[in-house]
Structure formats: C-alpha cells, structure tokens
Amino acid sequence: MAEKVQSKHRESFVSGIIRQNPLFISMLGTCPALAVTTSIESAFGMGLLFTFVLLCSNVIISLLKKLIPEVVHTPCYIVVIAAFVTITKMFTEAFLPELYSTLGVFLSLLVVNCIVLGRAEAFANKNTVADSFLDAIGNGIGYTLAICIIAFFREALGTGGITIGKIFTFLPQFTLPLLKYPGTNIDMSMSVFTDSAGGFIVMGLALAVIMAIENKKNTKKKVDAKIKMQQEMAAKKAAAAKAAAAKSPAPAVATANAAIATPVAETKKEEK
C-alpha cells in the first residue's frame, strides 16, 4: 500500500516533466511561450511565476475539493486562480520590477492559461494534496524547461549571445558571446529570431523534433500491437480449425496453417 502511494507520487511528479510536457506534448499555454521568450531571463522568470501560481492554485483547490459543489466548480477555480495571480503580480511589481515591465500583460494572462485551469480540473479535483503539489512542481519544471529551450535558441540566434543580469539585476551583467563577438567583426546573428516571426519558427522546429521522436516511438508500439493482435487471431483460428478438423478431413487444416503463416510474415517484413 505504501509502495503504491509512493509510486503514485513519483508518477505525478515525473510525468509533468518530459512524458506529458504541458507545452510540447499537450500543446497548452502557447501564448506566453511565444511572447516572453525573446530573452532567456524573462522566460525563466515567467516559468518561475507560473510554477508559483500553479502550485498555490493546485494545493488550495485540492484542499477545497470536497466543499465546492459540482455545478459551480469552474467559477470557483477561476476566482482562486485569479486571486493568486493578483498576489503574484503585486509581489513581482514590488521585488522584481524589471521582470514586471518585461512580462507586461502576460502576467495577468496566467489567469486564463490553459495549463493552470486544465490541471485544476483534471488533477487537483480528484487527487490528494500531496499528489497535486508534486504534479504542480513537475508541470512547472516541464514548462520552464520548455520555454527556456525556446528562449535559448531565439536569443542565441537573434542577438548573438546570451545576456544575463538585465532583468535579475542582482546577478552581474554578463553577455556570453556565441554568434557575435564584440571586439571583432564577426556577427552571424539573425535578428528575425527575436521578432515575432522567430517565435513561430523556433516553436515549429521544436515541435517537429518532438513529433519525429513521437513517431518513432509510435511505429514501434504500433508494430508490437499489430503482431500481438495477429497472433491472438491466429491462435483463435487454429483452435477453430482444430475443432473443425476433428469432424472433417485433413485439407482444412492445411489451408488454415497457410492462412496463419502469411500475416505474421508480412508484419515481420514491415518491422524491418
């Protein structure tokens, strides 16, 4: 019993990071992912604030799940999430004003972020507080990773280097030159990537990579499932043929054997 609970905890934490990544696999929350990823610092800040909002809302909704009647659960979730977003906005405006002015409206748009509402309705509604907590942290880490990857490519290709210290001003200002070396004439940066078009391009290419990996996994699963099903059907046919052969002469068995041999050979060819 204890192992089941522990494995459920691990499952809800790990699945949000890679296997069911909210941005790349479930395709949710794409609006901030394209808009705030012009620099890796703002993407990281957005991911942090997103994780905070998701965590608080998941825990509170999981605590209140028995008190809210079924009919009115959507309005209540919206109010809870909006309350936490307002609190986050006020904290950010006070302690990280550069991040607040960079993110702009997208901090308020966390209220209608599909991931936060989706996790509340699909997971926090039915699971314990501990599971909801771990699920929120897992999804937050997954989303932050996803938008940081997009922001890394957009910033590196668009401005030529990674700059830190502009938004999180307590860090020393430092530019890591990758494509643009300030002392020399080398400048291979392409400014289209920090424009709006670049967001679409990088996101499309990232999704193509993810789709390629998924397709490979899916073909393997498909071929395995097919072989299994054909073997089951062949076994049923053999049993039926045996029952028929017990009453009738031998040729029926020979045709049944030939019919079994062909589908299995075909799937083996497809697998290669």
Binding site: M27, L28, T30, C31, L34, A35, P75, I78, V79, A82, A83, V85, T86, K89, M90, G104, V105, S108, L109, V111, V112, C114, L117, V192, D195, S196, A197, G198, G199, F200, I201, M203, G204, L205, L207, A208, V209, M211, A212, N215
Partner: protein, 201 residues
Amino acid sequence: MNPAVPYIVTFLLAIVSSMLIDNVVLSRFYGICSFIGVGNKPKAAFSMGLAVTFVTIMAALVCWPIYTFVLQPLQIPFMDTLTYILVIASLVQIVGLFIKKYSPALYKAFGIYLPLITTNCAVLGVVQGNTDSGLSFGMSMANAIGTAIGFVIVIVIFSFIRIRLEEYKTPKAFRGIAIALITAALMSIAFLGFSGMVPSN
C-alpha cells in the same frame, strides 16, 4: 492627439493600426491556442472569429467604465484582473443564454464556441492592455474593434492556407502543427509590410 486631425480619423487609424500593424495573433501573440486548434475548416474559423468579435467588443465596452468609474475612485486598482475575468465570463454566459433562448440562427452560427472564449487570451489581453496602457475610452474601443477584425482576418486566411497545405507531401515530422507554425511565421513576416502605414504620433 494632433488637434488639426479630426477625431474620427484618429479613431479609424487606431483601428487599422491594431488590426494590421500590431496584429493580435501574428504580432502580439494573443489568440494562439484557438488559432492552431481551428485547423482547416473555414466555416468553423469564421464562427470562432465571430464569437471572439462579439465578446471582445462587449467586454471592452463594459470593463473600461468599471475600471475608471468604480475601481479607480475607490482606490482598489489591484482588483482589475479578478474583475475583468469575472465580467468576461459572466458576459459569455449571458450572451449564450440570450442566443439559446431567442436566436437559434445565431446559436447555429457561433453558439458552441462561446464557452471556449472565456479562456481565450485575446479577450483578457485586450481588456487588460487597455487599462494598463492608460488609453482613453475611444482608443480602447478602437483597439478592441481592430483586434477583433484582425483576428477574424488572420484566422480565416490561415484556415484556407491549411487546406492547401494538406494536399502536399510534407515530411512526416512536420505534418500538422509544425508546418502550420512555420507558415504562420511567413504570414507574420508578410504582415510586417504594413508597418509603415500609420504614422505614430
């Protein structure tokens, strides 16, 4: 505001500016979820656009006065996000109620998309952006109207493009969403051509 230019011209220029130059989907990145989701059906795309237009214009009409005449005088401006989302959600339900009861034709046209508009970033983004930037009432309404028309234009054009895209043999990994996003990137670059149209003053 330039005193030599009549107000109606400024209003129309503001509509054009938020419709084409700062397009809501391609430049401000607001309605991406529904933009990708509608796919290759122009009729569904137009219905979705119609629903977004309705809700955006009504929400902007109601939310700006609430902020200026209720929240600001009472010195509780931090309640804006909460108020806006509740107003938008209630408007969606009330409009849906009226359409269900009194107009089956409109319900067939866009009624089923109405509940999905509550979580559309475009509506809340426009309304919150209006008060965050401190625009006047006329400019807020121009922003909302321009956003709505821009959304409809882009989503309908995109659905027609996707019908064509399905006829070609794209590489397997790009099929579906990835090639749609790259096409949207090209559309975004095309819309950059509008950027010099309205002189910003």
